[in-house]
């Protein structure tokens, strides 16, 4: 059989480990063979790594209504350049994505753009107002993959319990921004010695831990009254975990068998609150950058599987918005385009974090959370793939971002492991090398 693309002499890394080199033949949207064959186009991929396509369970692409920050075109392009074949977009847009029509419109437009694939998350409650549930069944039919009120916090425990129960009955994951609004107050950074000294409102680790503890009780309650034939096991996905204490709670819940998953952002794995010493709003994220102890715990959690996956929480804003003061500047940073090289360099190269595990957290981990089949690099697998260059080292240059948000807390960091090609079902969505 003649393929479309032959990747010669490439190392294979997926959740099952590292293999190769192999000659990977791609055609008809699938991997046809690992031992070569005829192809329309052949690429000498010596020294490169092939991984299943990355899947981001958490990105803010800002469309509709906030296109000044990002839109589907720039956001999905940024994703493809970051090696992502699939992205879940958060619904806290203007207006919030809370109707089947809005979901369908996003999917339609994303197909025309043809970069990374879009999987919209829809609001859990109408208008994300935390009161009336959205139409889970119709939203799922339209293509929604997750329900969440992210951007806000679910203050009413009763509504969350109803939402979890109802969404689960239609096989939808509910994800939560787990921070207690009352404890968090106006916090703009981690509460601790530095926030006291800098005179900045602090957001205590307790805001996350207390909310996770509450939500786990809700899961326990809902799961207990769930029928055993419920469609999917994952009820609750805790977004952007940032504290050691929150991790501990989730670890215990998982050990107990509660259907809970969680993710961690690249920033919480590489930056701490000490960065705020510079008083630069580029380090203002929600939840805030925490301490070194938290960072170490999160890396351990990522390693032992307590944390299921990497969620970028890509949260673009305009430069002008981010150049306000720390109180007024919005939370969030763009990171789709740096997530993998960042963790490849900082976790794998510098700390010896196992590469196959890291790749799993970018690929199968999120797919498992969202109910997709994992991708193994073998004949017959879906050819949604990412090629990585482990050799070339390059500094992060926000001016070259495809994202509209051209700033980064990692600007100037020298990283390797940059994605050089992203294939979505065999289609080249991004090609970043002179081939």
């Amino acid at each position: 059989m003649k393929g479309e693309l032959l990747l010669k002499n490439i190392r294979l890394v997926d959740a099952s480990g590292e293999r190769g080199p192999a000659d990977v033949l791609v055609g008809e949207g699938r991997i046809l063979a690992l031992d070569g064959g005829d192809a329309e186009r052949t690429l000498d991929a010596s020294g490169l790594i092939l991984s299943p396509g990355f899947f981001d369970p958490h990105a803010h692409l800002r469309e509709p209504g906030q296109e000044v920050k990002e839109d589907l075109q720039t956001g999905l392009t940024a994703a493809a350049r970051g090696g992502y074949t699939d992205v879940v977009s958060m619904p806290n847009t203007t207006p919030p994505v809370d109707t089947p029509e809005a979901v369908a419109a996003l999917i339609k437009k994303s197909r025309q753009i043809g970069q990374a694939r879009l999987h919209p998350a829809a609001a859990l409650t109408q208008g994300q107002e935390g009161q009336r549930l959205t139409e889970a069944r119709l939203l799922k039919e339209a293509g929604a993959i997750m329900l969440t009120d992210d951007g806000k916090t679910n203050e009413d425990a009763g509504v969350l319990a109803l939402g979890l129960s109802y969404a689960a009955s239609w096989g939808l994951v509910v994800s939560v921004h787990a921070e207690d609004a009352g404890l968090r107050r106006g916090g703009v950074m981690n509460e601790g010695p530095l926030s006291y000294r800098l005179g900045l409102p602090g957001n205590p680790a307790a805001a996350e831990a207390a909310r996770i503890a509450r939500d786990l009780e809700i899961v326990r309650y809902v799961w207990g009254r769930q029928r055993p034939d419920a469609k999917r096991p994952t009820l609750l996905h805790v977004q952007h975990l940032s504290t050691a204490r929150g991790l501990e709670l989730i670890r215990q819940a998982k050990a107990e068998g509660l259907p809970v998953t969680t993710e961690v952002g690249p920033h919480h794995l590489t930056l701490t609150d000490e960065r705020l010493e510079s008083l630069d709003p580029v380090y203002k994220v929600a939840p805030p950058l925490r301490t070194q102890t938290d960072l170490e715990a999160l890396i351990q959690g990522l390693l032992d599987g307590s944390i299921d996956c990497i969620g970028t929480d890509h949260a673009p804003h305009t430069r002008a918005e981010k150049e306000q003061d720390l109180i007024r500047a919005p939370f969030g940073i763009p990171n789709l385009e740096v997530a993998f090289p960042l963790l490849y360099t900082e976790l794998y190269l510098k700390r010896g974090f196992p590469l196959a595990t890291l790749v799993e957290r970018f690929t199968d981990g999120p797919r498992r959370v969202l109910g997709f089949r994992p991708i193994r690099l073998e004949a017959g697998a879906e050819a949604s793939l990412t090629l990585l260059d482990p050799r070339s080292e390059r500094a992060v240059d926000p001016a070259r971002f495809a994202s509209k948000a051209r700033f980064s807390p990692w600007a100037g960091w020298r990283l390797s492991g940059w994605p050089v090609m992203t294939l979505v079902e065999g289609r080249v969505a991004w090609l970043g090398m002179g081939a």
């Binding site: 509460e191 010695p193 006291y196 005179g199 008083l279 709003p281 002008a320 306000q324 003061d325 109180i327």
Partner: protein, 310 residues
């Protein structure tokens, strides 16, 4: 050969990077500026040809006047920008505003803002000396300098002296800057206020909710302004509740050493943080603080500007 100044940090954003020698050198100049202020002509040509911009994104008439008069007494040109009444209100960013001013040939900036960190950002954007005239809850270094200067004038030395600062510590840039500066000069600083208005911990100072413990044998007492909005945010039950626990009264001041000076950064809520007439009492340093503010700010301008024109 004339002696040279001790090189100070380029900016006065807070006291990070400052040491005791820096402050003592600055105070030596400030004492000489007091002499200038006693002359028939209270003006010297030292900063002729320099332009100082006072950029107040947050209103503060007193601080602005003090800085502008200090600059004018040194013969600097003063450009006065008020964020509340200008393009800032139309959504122009700090950076755009500052870069626009910079195009007018400014040599140094005095910045006041309601949010922490803007002076630091300005320092990154502008490359000119930045003097922080108060940023959010974070720092108000010239206020702390004039407090320390006034205390030194009265007490001679701060070595081993117990200074109690009382009130809303959590939201006070004055308390934070004094908590950095006074220990540097050898003082033992006690910060005291309601539990809801104390931060979790600051280096080199002692924190307590017990007013008696804070005032006991204190060599000086500073009362902070209590913003009435703290009651609205639920951080304090009521004014009478605060008064009952933390108002500095004549009787409570008696816990401190006899004649211990009383300071207040102003503006004062009489009968809230201080008992009515206490600010006018002989031991009050409030007026000296204002007068010394001039000399200290002249010294700051001299040290940060002279010989550093870019």
């Amino acid at each position: 050969m004339t002696a040279e100044l001790v090189a100070l940090p380029k900016h006065l954003l807070d006291f990070q990077g400052w040491n005791r020698k820096h402050v003592e050198d600055l105070f030596e100049t400030a004492r000489l500026m007091q002499e200038v202020l006693s002359r028939p002509v209270k003006k010297v040509p030292a900063l002729t040809g320099f332009t100082v911009a006072t950029v107040f994104f947050e209103n503060s008439t007193r601080t602005r006047l003090s800085f502008e008069l200090a600059a004018r007494r040194m013969s600097a040109d003063v450009l006065s920008f008020s964020g509340a009444t200008s393009s800032m209100a139309k959504g122009e960013s700090y950076k755009d505003t500052l870069l626009t001013l910079d195009a007018m040939g400014i040599d140094a900036y005095v910045i006041r803002v309601d949010a922490a960190g803007v002076p630091h950002q300005a320092a990154r954007w502008l490359g000119k000396p930045i003097i922080n005239a108060g940023d959010g809850w974070r720092a108000h270094p010239t206020q702390a300098l004039l407090d320390a200067f006034s205390l030194l004038e009265r007490l001679g030395s701060l070595e081993g002296k117990k200074i109690a600062i009382v009130g809303d510590i959590l939201h006070s840039r004055v308390a934070r800057s004094n908590a950095e500066l006074l220990p540097m000069l050898g003082a033992e600083v006690w910060l005291c206020g309601p539990a809801t208005l104390l931060p979790g911990g600051l280096p080199k100072v002692t924190m307590t909710t017990d007013l008696r413990e804070a005032l006991q044998d204190a060599d000086a007492v500073m009362a902070l302004r209590l913003q009435k909005e703290r009651m609205d945010k639920g951080l304090l039950p009521s004014e009478p509740e605060y008064i009952a626990g933390y108002q500095i009264t004549r009787e409570r001041l008696g816990w401190a050493k006899p004649g211990a000076p009383l300071l207040h950064p102003g503006p004062m809520n009489r009968d809230l943080e201080l008992e009515g007439t206490l600010a006018d009492a002989a031991q009050s340093l409030v007026e000296r603080q204002v007068a010394n503010g001039q000399a200290v700010r002249m010294a700051v301008l001299y040290h940060l500007l002279v010989g550093r024109k870019t």
